[in-house]
Symmetry: C2
Subunit: 201 residues, 2 copies
Amino acid sequence: MNNSRGKLIVVSGPSGVGKSTIIADLLEKRGNMRFSVSLTTREPRPGEQNGKDYWFVSREEFADMVENGRLLEHASYVDNDYGTSADFVDGEMSLGNDVLLDIEVQGAAQVKAARPEAVLVFVAPPSLEELERRLRSRHTDSEEKIACRLRKVREEYARMDQYDYIVINRDKNSSAAELDAIITAEHCRTKDRIHLIREVE
Amino acid sequence: MNNSRGKLIVVSGPSGVGKSTIIADLLEKRGNMRFSVSLTTREPRPGEQNGKDYWFVSREEFADMVENGRLLEHASYVDNDYGTSADFVDGEMSLGNDVLLDIEVQGAAQVKAARPEAVLVFVAPPSLEELERRLRSRHTDSEEKIACRLRKVREEYARMDQYDYIVINRDKNSSAAELDAIITAEHCRTKDRIHLIREVE
């Protein structure tokens, strides 16, 4: 029955906001949704699996993909490269599957430029104080690192206009439900459905 | 908690498509949603209640409201006037309630012109054949009336571009869920939420 092209959903949000839990919920809830695993040139950490956490590729392979336009977006952090495979995204979408990307604000801008039909969703904390509390309760970041993350969120907030939707993560169930509703609604857009009624004329 | 302005949701769709059932489901599901009862100059039919089925007003009252810009849209059918009270709609929205209008394609265009933020949803049948079957099974319309209704749907389809969303009513539960998702998604739009994150800066 599903012969329409899938949707490209880009989700961004600060570290500690609870994005991964929401995404896991959503992938469980929606059958035809695929998560795009990022490519990276960094070394796998203990326990990380190729194709699950990242696709681990060499610097040469990565450079080659950039060169040949096979990445939908890419960026460097701390001397390593990260990117999104255009082949994976386009392939799944043409099968009618929705594809979800979990990427940074800069990457989201690149995806929107390359695929204007992409739907951009930002997951925000209820407040910066609450985000700080969540980061602190993880006991994984130094004070310096937490301060750095909070500075970064303020920078991200300044670029909010590029996002279509904002989900404020007060609790994970209602946030997953909102993200789910956004995707359902995007499938109801007139431009996506008009052929279904026009073909009966 | 809810201090943001409500949404204006306009639902249109042909007679027999099952719109009223979907709307009743939605009103039950969403607490802060108000249905806008139309005003009319026609006489009440047996059993019809003022303020429930319609607000029954005199021709003079109606003309006065048109004159004073107190109708969001209005139209005439078979020598009677029908319209939507701007006071009711604006009042409920400013209280933070969503307002749902069930009006024709022409009225929807008037509302969109007056309130560009209105969200327009068209409820369509799976096919014209199916609509014809549903109309026939009601045993209320003559053959001539059914043919007239089907002609009207084709005219409506030609004006589909003004709608933001199309819900195809295959079964009432999934259609009510789609309409519900559309309203939830519209509340997540960046323009409606950016103040919530900007105020923490």
